[in-house]
Subunit: 189 residues, 2 copies
DNA sequence: CTGTAATTTCAGAATATACTGAAAATTCAG
DNA sequence: CTGAATTTTCAGTATATTCTGAAATTACAG
């Protein structure tokens, strides 16, 4: 890392590089994305090379990766060969993309693997028990995924309103009490 | 990996080892945990060594890691030196622990870093813009964390009931329409 | 206490991942 | 078309992570 980054921006970039690497994203790619998020104007590969002090080819590969995650948009300026990259201006858009991509890459294959193992006939008690755990896991993941998808449907504006409700977010889920509260009555007036 | 694991159980273990490694968890540790989850009875370190075909010392380190995540419980048998390990019998308990630990290790430090950067006075327009993005990010993460915490309050039994409601999970979040629906009225009858 | 069964530690080896520079490929202004 | 600007590829190198065996430590049955 080098050049004209201010300490504030440096700290952010370093932190998110670190975070990225804990979540299976290459540290450098994480830094590149952090930089793009903080900049209003699109950057070209050389800008990134200079800002982070890494090789041009590394930047090229990183951008390719970010493109494959659909986290970054490619732009051209009229009469210029050079390519410019930018991150969405809306944090919630970024989060939704991350969630969506993770789902495609990890959750869906996992659910599929589980389903394949669940249709087999257990050979003995041990496998029967194992299958039961797999069944519970499948159910749970599927449910959490459904919830997540509901939340993803919200757009930034809606989310903004929700934010303004502040800590009373709890109220949204108070609904649960009506659903789960006192036993068998499942009707909600 | 070796010995007496059935193909079904092998597949599960391999898949979750792979998944773990994409989420910043060592592949072998992921496999160890997968094995523990599938087994009803607690296992000792040698059982794991044999089942996965890895070194005894590797198992020792992996168990240490799983203990630090509080994902695994240590048990003793009367009149035996040997230590036995087991995973919670409830998948939702496991998920809650994972979420909780991730929060402690990644989310909280991130929020703290963001707050520190947000109290600084921006030196120029660029920093002002960057800070704005950080502010939005902080708000979003905080809100998602609050939601997650609400959901974590549910116990398995409650979750079970919720599951039985099936796909009408959407209903839980229909609440959002009442909150966000048609503009300014914030009261919920 | 003591001896032994068990666990932990850790330096070094094995493996996997990330990074670079140079060369090849691509793109488009002229 | 052409060739200069730009991007991509990739073999080799550097770095980081994981794994092992041997030695040190610990815990407890007797």
């Amino acid at each position: 890392m080098s050049e004209k980054l201010t300490p504030m921006i440096q700290s952010f970039i370093l932190h998110f590089g670190e975070m990225g690497s804990r979540w299976g994203i290459n540290r450098t790619v994480g830094q590149m994305y952090a930089l793009l998020v903080l900049r209003k104007e699109p950057l070209c590969a050389d800008d990134i090379t200079e800002a982070l002090g890494i090789s041009r080819s590394n930047v090229s590969m990183g951008l390719k990766e970010l493109m494959s995650w659909e986290l970054v948009k490619l732009q051209h300026r009229p009469g210029e060969r050079k390519e410019f990259y930018s991150a969405p201006g809306d944090v919630w858009d970024i989060a939704k993309t991350l969630i969506e991509q993770r789902r495609k890459r990890e959750i869906d294959p996992t659910l599929s693997t589980l389903r394949n193992l669940l249709i087999e006939t257990p050979a003995n008690d041990e496998e029967a028990y194992a299958q039961q755990r797999m069944r519970e896991m499948h159910e749970l993941i599927e449910m959490l995924t459904l919830w997540t998808q509901e939340i993803q449907r919200l757009d930034s504006a809606q989310l903004g309103k929700l934010l303004k409700l502040g800590n009373s977010i709890g109220k949204v889920l108070d609904m649960k009490d009506r659903l789960l509260g006192s036993g068998k009555k499942e009707s909600m007036k």
